[in-house]
């Protein structure tokens, strides 16, 4: 396994640490998750030859182990942000269940359950209430959830700020006095205040300057080490993922299409989309400007998901079977941790397909029948 090792003995009672659970098994399991949004009316959708429900998350199973850093990777329309919000309880599920430490989380989460998964958001400029000081923001959460006794709220807030590298004078400041990187630190402190079991970070550094990203990434890495924090990182930036995470799940049009350890994913990607994604990333070394693009065409509209394998319209090796059968996640022989949803993931690759002969762009397929 690559990536930083989680600490052997996480700080059990300090700020931010999860309640000691001492349980075996994965921290979180999700089965059959679906999240859909209504778009217009059924009649209008029929006229446009589209679906009426946008299937943002379309049948996702996943597990998150205690103490690991799992990355959820995908481009726009993949559903990764919706999935993250569904796990955090911000978006209702249409189907499926989420278990935290073995216990099912109900649709309307109790306050105690809501506490256990916390999120850091992408935009540091809109994720803090501009009218509240940092201490108001923290105190409110601490009081509502009764995390520490009243007398200790102030000192606990200071400890939290120290944990993310901010001095005490940040307590009485307003968000507008902070830079982008500092705001993200405050956002992390806020998320950790409730001592969650799982921290979900939705593109935490995308809105920051390059030189500032490093400070936040280093901070997350350090918190993993010192607090034994379990992290779910949503990102479109594979360089960040490679640096920070142990395992990666790749999403495309609402489904997870590959899961692997970071090392496996970057050295031996099994799904054609993953391979294309990796090839598309610009590198600092010699350019390959003469070659054809890694992935051709535009992603299909999520209102017109192709029947069969949803990636087949852009896949260089698509075959007939791909339009008939929707591939399930299957494991690599001998490597149960590495799964991919492709008929040709771990076998021999078929010849570059007749079905995809025009490596150019196809007409939009009609909505799938399922």
């Amino acid at each position: 396994m690559t990536g930083p090792e989680p600490a052997a003995s996480p700080a059990a009672s300090g700020p931010g640490a999860a309640d000691p659970a001492g349980e075996a098994g994965p921290l979180l399991t999700a089965t059959g998750l679906s999240v859909g949004f209504r778009v217009g009316s059924p009649a209008m959708a029929r006229r446009r030859n589209e679906e009426w429900i946008l299937r943002a998350v379309d049948g996702v199973d996943m597990t998150i182990e205690r103490g690991e850093a799992l990355a959820l990777v995908g481009e726009s329309g993949s559903g990764k942000s919706t999935l993250a919000r569904a796990l955090t309880g911000l978006v209702p599920l249409n189907a499926g269940e989420i278990r935290l430490s073995g216990r099912v989380l109900s649709g309307r989460r109790s306050r105690a359950d809501q506490r256990r998964i916390q999120m850091v958001f992408q935009d540091p400029y809109s994720s803090l209430n501009p009218r509240l000081t940092v201490s108001s923001i923290l105190h409110e959460l601490l009081r509502v959830h009764d995390i520490v006794p009243r007398a200790e709220v102030e000192s606990y807030s200071r400890e939290l700020l120290g944990l993310v590298g901010l001095t005490d004078d940040a307590l009485h400041a307003y968000p507008r006095q902070f830079s982008g990187g500092q705001r993200q630190r405050v956002a992390i402190a806020r998320a950790l205040a409730l001592r969650p079991d799982l921290l979900v970070a939705d593109e935490p550094v995308s809105a920051l300057d390059v030189s500032v990203q490093a400070t936040i990434l280093n901070l997350l890495q350090e918190l993993r080490g010192s607090l034994g924090l379990t992290l779910l990182l949503i990102s479109h930036n594979l360089a960040v993922v490679r640096h920070l995470c142990d395992r990666v799940a790749v999403m495309y049009l609402g489904r997870i299409i590959e899961v692997a350890t970071t090392e496996q994913l970057f050295t031996a990607p099994a799904h054609p989309y993953t391979r294309g994604l990796l090839a598309a990333i610009p590198r600092m070394t010699a350019s390959t400007a003469d070659e054809a693009p890694a992935v051709v065409g535009d992603p299909p509209s999520p209102l017109r998901i192709p029947a069969g394998c949803r990636f087949r319209t852009r896949c260089p090796i698509a075959q007939d079977i791909c339009s008939r059968e929707d591939p399930m996640l299957t494991a690599a022989p001998g490597q149960p941790g590495h799964t991919a949803a492709c008929h040709f993931a771990f076998g021999e690759a078929p010849p570059a397909a007749a079905a995809a002969s025009s490596a150019g762009l196809k007409e939009e397929p009609s909505p799938s029948q399922s």
Binding site: R85, T88, G89, L90, R109, R111, Q114, R115, I117, Q118, M119, F121, Q122, D123, S126, S127, L128, N129, P130, R131, L132, E140, L141, V144, H145, G162, L163, V164, G165, L166, T167, D169, A170, A173, R176, Q177, F178, S179, G181, Q182, R185, A187, R190, L194, T215, N218, L219, E222
Partner: protein, 287 residues
């Protein structure tokens, strides 16, 4: 501890914004006008020795003079004094009257915007119903039914006036509730009431306040109109509306009896509009 160095916070940039409001010409001129009017109206007893209702049938319909700054009306009552005391009545009622629709509209608009669904449907249909009636027709009808006087004015203005606030606040909340700090509050397990009251409203209420400035003008006009029609403030209590009505019959001979209170309404309205404009510029996000 943390490898990331301890970072200090940038100094307060608020100075620039606070100092800025002095230099807002619209705001400053509006405030000046209203301040002068308020002063004159509040200090009425100091500025005139005449009782506004005191009749003096020996000195009717006189023009401006040393004894009567602005002359007298047909019953010998001093115009200047009636202007000042009339301003008291109109302004005090208007200032109070603007509060009830503000509160009611804000509450209903928040519920509609935040919860959506049935709350939104019902409240917006109520808005549609109220808006279908012309403003003045509805107000006049209500005051007529409820009987003249200040209490009816408050009720009528509230019933009719809440809709604009509701729309404004609903619109602002629809946008604001998508902001990530609201999602953060929701994921933090805070109750909806707390989120609406503590997180959403303080950030959206500025638009309603700006609207309230122009609403006061509308309210003053409504009160003046009602009094002009004999439905609002009843004589002998002076107010600009019944002064205007009173002077109607003398328009060709002593036009000042109508024009002076009319001017007072105009100037007050101008001052309030300037304040509204100035505030809107100042509070515009992103400055």
């Amino acid at each position: 501890m943390s490898a990331a160095a301890l970072v200090t916070v940038a100094p307060e940039h608020a100075q620039s914004r606070k100092a800025h409001w002095f230099r807002q010409p619209a705001l400053m001129s509006g405030l000046a006008i209203i301040a002068i009017i308020l002063f004159m109206v509040i200090a009425a007893p100091l500025l005139t020795s005449y009782n506004p209702n005191a009749q003096n049938l020996n000195a009717t319909l006189q023009g401006p003079s040393a004894q009567h700054l602005l002359g007298t009306d047909q019953l010998g009552r001093d115009t200047w004094s009636r202007l000042l005391y009339g301003g008291r009545a109109d302004l005090s009622i208007a200032l109070i009257a603007v509060v009830f629709p503000f509160v009611l509209g804000t509450i209903l608009g928040s519920l509609a915007g935040y919860f959506g669904g049935w709350a939104d449907l019902t409240i917006m249909r109520l808005v549609d119903i109220v808006v279908a009636f012309p403003f003045y027709v509805l107000i006049i009808a209500l005051v007529f039914v409820l009987g003249p006087g200040a209490r009816s004015i408050y009720i009528a203005i509230t019933v009719v006036g809440w809709v604009s606030y509701a729309r404004i606040i609903r619109g602002e909340i629809l946008i604001a509730k998508r902001q990530e700090y609201i999602l953060a509050a929701q994921s933090g397990g805070l109750s909806n009431t707390r989120i609406m009251g503590r997180h959403l409203l303080p950030n959206v209420v500025t638009q309603a306040i700006i609207y309230a400035m122009s609403d006061i003008v509308l309210d003053i006009l409504a009160i003046v109109t009602l009094s002009y029609l004999g439905l609002g403030i009843q004589p002998p209590t002076p107010d600009w509306g019944n002064m205007i009505a009173n002077g109607q019959n003398f328009l060709t001979t002593h036009w000042e009896l109508t024009t002076i209170p009319g001017l007072a309404v105009v100037i007050t309205g101008l001052g309030l509009s300037l304040i509204g404009d100035g505030l809107a510029d100042l509070l515009r996000p992103g400055q």
